[in-house]
């Protein structure tokens, strides 16, 4: 279901979690709810869950000094955009072989993956799933920067 109503564009759904791998499943549960609201098929819902998980794994395992991670879901008529950001303040950790698995899976299951920085200089991973029957433009205000 695409967002409708008189209140203008739908507000993002924002989830902030302590940097704890045992809590990633909460982000998956939220992703499931958002995917259902967006009218995604079961396959695309599973794709979204995987992409969100991999983005969080990448955030928690390859960045140092992470205390929390935030996942924001923005839904428009055309696309579902997920932005994953953490508060890492130090240098990167050791990515290891599995980091390449995370990135490859993430890129394979969503339409676009971008890396960017927010206004506070934190790195942002942006996942875009185009909704069926649309031109696939992300919500207004979302800039799909280069990875």
């Amino acid at each position: 279901m695409a967002p409708t109503g008189d209140a203008g564009p739908e507000q993002p759904i924002v989830l902030r979690l302590p940097a704890d791998e045992s809590l990633i499943h909460i982000a998956r549960l939220t992703a499931s709810g958002v995917a259902a609201r967006a009218g995604l098929t079961i396959d695309r819902l599973e794709d979204l869950k995987l992409a969100v998980s991999e983005a969080l794994i990448d955030r928690l395992e390859t960045r140092a000094g992470v205390r929390w991670v935030q996942v924001a879901f923005s839904l428009s008529d055309a696309a579902l955009v997920v932005e994953v950001v953490g508060d890492e303040s130090e240098g990167g950790g050791d990515p290891g072989d599995e980091s390449s698995y995370a990135l490859a899976l993430m890129e394979s299951v969503v339409d676009e993956v971008h890396g960017d920085h927010d206004e506070e200089g934190r790195s942002v991973t942006r996942l875009i799933i185009r909704l069926p029957g649309t031109g696939g433009q992300p919500p207004a205000g979302v800039d799909a920067g280069a990875r």
Partner: protein, 124 residues
């Protein structure tokens, strides 16, 4: 959420390992521990069935890859039963479908393991 890891000893020496639930970053260590215990105990012929896995992420794949290397170092193998097209596609995306031993059923996996050589110690 959560994962249970069931094991079943087979007459020929192979062991079926069946994770049940979400096989992912937080639970993957449970499977890793079981696989390490088996190879350390001289049982490197292992079938890991994904039939009851409801979610699989990159960390789980890493555990499977590591378990496969370890089993082969000890003269055995690890065969994955991957009936799900979704998980099979993930392995293809990661270009692991040629490295890993993959079967469509437990029977096929056990047949593949029975053809593997006799296990040996870590030093050959």
């Amino acid at each position: 959420m959560g994962l249970e890891v069931r094991t079943e000893q087979q007459a020929g020496g192979a062991v079926i390992v069946a994770p049940v639930g979400e096989f992912e970053v937080y639970t993957a260590a449970q499977v890793k521990d079981v696989l390490m215990q088996l190879t350390d105990a001289g049982r490197p012929r292992v079938c890991v069935t994904l039939a009851d896995v409801t979610f699989l992420d990159s960390k789980a794949v890493g555990v499977i890859v590591e378990g496969t290397k370890r089993a082969r170092e000890r003269g055995g193998d690890l065969v994955i039963v991957c009936a799900s097209e979704r998980y099979a596609r993930h392995l293809r995306i990661l270009k692991l479908d040629e490295f890993l031993s993959i079967a469509a059923s437990t029977d096929e996996a056990l047949a593949m393991l029975s053809e593997a050589g006799e296990p040996h110690g870590p030093n050959g």
